[in-house]
Symmetry: C2
Subunit: 184 residues, 2 copies
């Protein structure tokens, strides 16, 4: 696929055609999120797994299971410990409501009696958030653009204003909280 892309670039260059340069975020669609202007990147559900998380709020008001996925540039940087992340790196954080099933837990109780096993899983989707590295375009926010989408619709300006300040404590890891999960 890469070769085809290079071939096309070569062809248009030779033919002297002026073309838009592809956005750093690659193919994307829908409405752009505020401040950073990021659209939902196509195919992010197929990016590779970085890690898995859980988020809860006190009083059971919120229980989420989460997965962080990265495009090839981001995954390579995680594996090689490359900091800062190179331009083009994209990280997606997928958030689901944590659900459980009595049927699943019955199976666990029968298969492993007396252990009290309980299972939960990714239920309905909540939102998806992105970090997109472009050291020039996003120089004012550590080289990262941030985006939040719920059902494909971008979150508010107020929400997006909180992204970069909140990521400040991870400055020594290029503002990325997530570590690459080990390969068991």
């Amino acid at each position: 696929m890469k070769r085809i892309i290079f071939a096309l670039v070569g062809f248009t260059a030779l033919a002297g055609i002026v073309v838009d340069t592809a956005p750093v975020s690659g193919q994307s669609r829908g409405e752009a999120a505020p401040i950073y202007g990021i659209r939902l990147p196509e195919g992010y559900r197929d990016w590779h797994l970085i890690s898995v998380k859980r988020l809860t709020a006190s009083g059971g008001k919120l229980k989420q299971l989460r997965a962080q996925l990265g495009n090839d540039i981001a995954i390579r940087a995680f594996r090689n410990g490359t900091l800062p992340f190179p331009d083009g790196a994209m990280i997606a954080a997928l958030h689901w409501n944590e659900s459980s099933s009595d049927a699943d837990n019955k199976v666990l109780a029968e298969g492993f009696p007396g252990v009290g096993l309980e299972s939960s899983f990714a239920g309905s989707g909540v939102n998806v958030q992105f970090m997109v590295k472009d050291s020039k375009k996003y120089a004012a926010s550590g080289g990262w653009g941030f985006a939040d989408f719920t059902n494909g619709k971008p979150g508010s300006v107020a929400l997006h204003e909180r992204c970069f300040p909140c990521h400040q404590p991870a400055k020594d890891r290029d503002y990325v909280f997530t570590h690459y999960a080990t390969t068991p």
Copy 2:
């Protein structure tokens, strides 16, 4: 890539060369797990995300975050709702100890005061388990071979004897408990 594979198959057929058929599990390495003879499939950490789970035991004796990944054949079957899964489908279940960090939770407390947010993440690796579809080879176990590895070493015979019986309740979903998580 598919076209290249088909082209090679066509070529070898025309040339009348007898070649070994590739094993259904693709490239793999290390010691084979008992009963089903499955070796650790190469590159499974790069398979696509099916879903995310959590497993706990009563009394806090066990807390795991888990991810299920699938090879291309498995992912396509999940998305298209294809049952039974076609031969060559492989599912990996990666299990980690659930960890948390005071530093992360401090960030959450400062970023979202009064909500009582707490985060946890995939910590040390525990084990990885596989389901490998080969309707002929594994006809006696619903067409699935099962394998468990800890640090690359296969689990015991006794453990592997429990796999198929435990998956019986999911018979109407071709013995697969995991559902494909929505794309948020």
